[in-house]
């Protein structure tokens, strides 16, 4: 992430942030409300552009191991003379970058269709392959045993924790490289949160995870790196070896 600034209606929300998120790691962003965590997260899949009055400067690069890709179109850095890698189409970028929101936002369809519908729309896979991938995704998030008898029942009947895991499965079914999590456990109870945290730790072996969290203890539990945001900047960058107590973290925030 190179010198990324984001403006909403001319008001600068992010101030020239330069940062790197390690592959197959969980990076946790913490900070006060309004410090720009969510905006920072949404620069990675260009979701800020869905809101009115948003303007982004700078560039984000995506390194998938095989490819080095630019997230924003080249015009974004006019006149710098720097050779830019190929930039991604918006929809294919978003397919590579899965996202989970604060509250589970399932579609008002069946459990199966929740995953199959976006999958069918973005990939031209055959019906049998889609079914295969739906089942795989459900197994990956540990929902399979719970919903296998109710695959075609409305997804609204699931509990909050199950709905959030369904959203995760929906994102994973598209086989992304990166997962963006915006306080994924904000609306869940302790047990459901713990379950998701454990799940993330397992998933980190395959995916690059960037997560926004309000809970400092959660950040310490799951984060390989912790970044502290304040007033649109990243003020501190801590690795897991730098063992800080929650109180020390609190002081930094």
């Amino acid at each position: 992430m190179d010198k990324v600034s984001v403006y909403f209606f001319g008001h600068q929300v992010l101030q020239e942030i330069t940062a790197a998120f390690q592959r197959h790691n969980i990076s946790v962003l913490i900070g006060r409300s309004g410090s720009g965590k969510t905006t920072l997260l949404r620069t990675i899949n260009r979701l800020n552009e869905e809101f009115e009055g948003c303007e982004t400067k700078g560039q984000v690069f995506l390194n998938t191991g095989q490819e080095h890709l630019a997230v924003y179109p080249k015009a974004n850095r006019k006149g710098t003379g720097v050779l830019q890698p190929a930039s991604l189409k918006l929809t294919s970028l978003r397919q590579r970058v899965g996202m989970l929101f604060q509250t589970p936002n399932i579609f008002p369809v069946s459990v199966y269709k929740n995953i199959a519908l976006p999958l069918t729309l973005v990939s031209q896979a055959a019906k049998t392959e889609i079914q295969e991938r739906v089942y795989q995704a459900l197994q990956l998030v540990g929902l399979w045993a719970e919903v296998r008898d109710g695959l075609h029942k409305p997804a609204q009947r699931l509990s909050g924790g199950q709905q959030q895991r369904l959203c995760l499965a929906r994102a994973l079914a598209l086989r992304p490289d990166i997962l963006l999590l915006d306080e994924p456990t904000a609306s869940l109870d302790v047990h459901a949160s713990r379950y998701i945290e454990d799940l993330l730790t397992t998933l980190a072996e395959q995916y690059t995870i960037v997560m926004v969290s309000h809970s400092l203890t959660q950040a310490r539990r799951v984060g390989h790196t912790i970044m502290i945001c304040s007033q649109g900047r990243i003020t501190h960058h801590l690795d897991r070896d730098e063992q800080l107590s929650t109180a020390e973290l609190e002081a930094l925030v």
Partner: protein
């Protein structure tokens, strides 16, 4: 045999009303729903303002004015282009469709605007394009509102008298023979018979027509319910056989 008229009573009026509803809906469904989708999802603020003002104006126009418009239109056409042109089923359906367009547009727009933005955002984050989100997610979610708008519009077609009496409805035409012919309709039959009845039988006929119109309205409510349930079954996938 052969001495009594074949089509006596309110059967021609009933069929006329059904034909009128069918033709009107054929004319108005696509543009009305399309306009609603445009307003809710695609229109720039400027276009939103313009089209909404136009729709409000149309919604405020009294039906007799719409009838007069049709009548004047046919006079104009006779003088200018087609001396043969006359008031007919198609003209009545055209004017009625102008009358019911706002109902359909506003209902569609409101149903689409009620789709939570969080769901659209989630779909966006999954890499779905704007058109995919609108037509595969938002419109199916808004079907209930769109259907109720359509049923309201159909009800309006069935009951409106002022428009059709200036644009082609007559007291005695038999079954509607073509789009370009005059026709009978239930509300006009009620109106006409109530004003000019000469015997108890004719009065009874008018009451019968009124009752039939009520039944027609009930049938439309039932149709709406049926469509809603059917859609829910298909869309939410409560019926396992749909996908397996």
């Amino acid at each position: 045999m052969g001495k009594a008229p074949v089509w006596e009573g309110i059967w021609p009026a009933f069929m006329g009303t059904l034909c009128l509803m069918a033709v009107t809906m054929g004319l108005v469904l696509l543009p009305g729903i399309g306009c609603g989708i445009f307003l809710a999802e695609y229109a720039t603020p400027l276009w939103k303002k313009r089209v909404n003002t136009a729709i409000d104006l149309l919604a405020g126009a009294p039906s007799i004015v719409m009838g007069l418009f049709g009548f004047t239109l046919i006079l104009f056409l006779r003088r200018a282009f087609f001396p043969e042109a006359n008031t007919c089923l198609f003209l009545a359906a055209g004017c009625l469709s102008l009358l019911v367009t706002p109902v359909l547009v506003v209902n569609t727009r409101e149903a689409l605007e009620a789709v939570p933005s969080s769901i659209k955002l989630a779909a966006t984050s999954l890499g779905l394009s704007k058109n995919q989100i609108i037509f595969c997610l938002a419109v199916p979610m808004a079907v209930r509102g769109i259907v109720s708008g359509s049923i309201l519009a159909m009800g309006r077609c069935a009951e409106d008298t002022a428009v059709i009496m200036l644009t082609g409805a007559v007291a005695n035409a038999g079954l509607p023979s073509s789009l370009w012919a005059k026709f009978e309709a239930l509300p006009f039959t009620i109106y006409y018979t109530m004003a000019h009845y000469q015997s108890q039988e004719e009065l009874n006929l008018a009451f019968g027509a009124a009752l039939l119109l009520l039944f027609l309205a009930t049938a439309m409510v039932a149709l709406a319910k049926l469509l809603e349930v059917g859609h829910k079954l298909f869309w939410q996938g409560e019926r396992p056989s749909v996908l397996q």
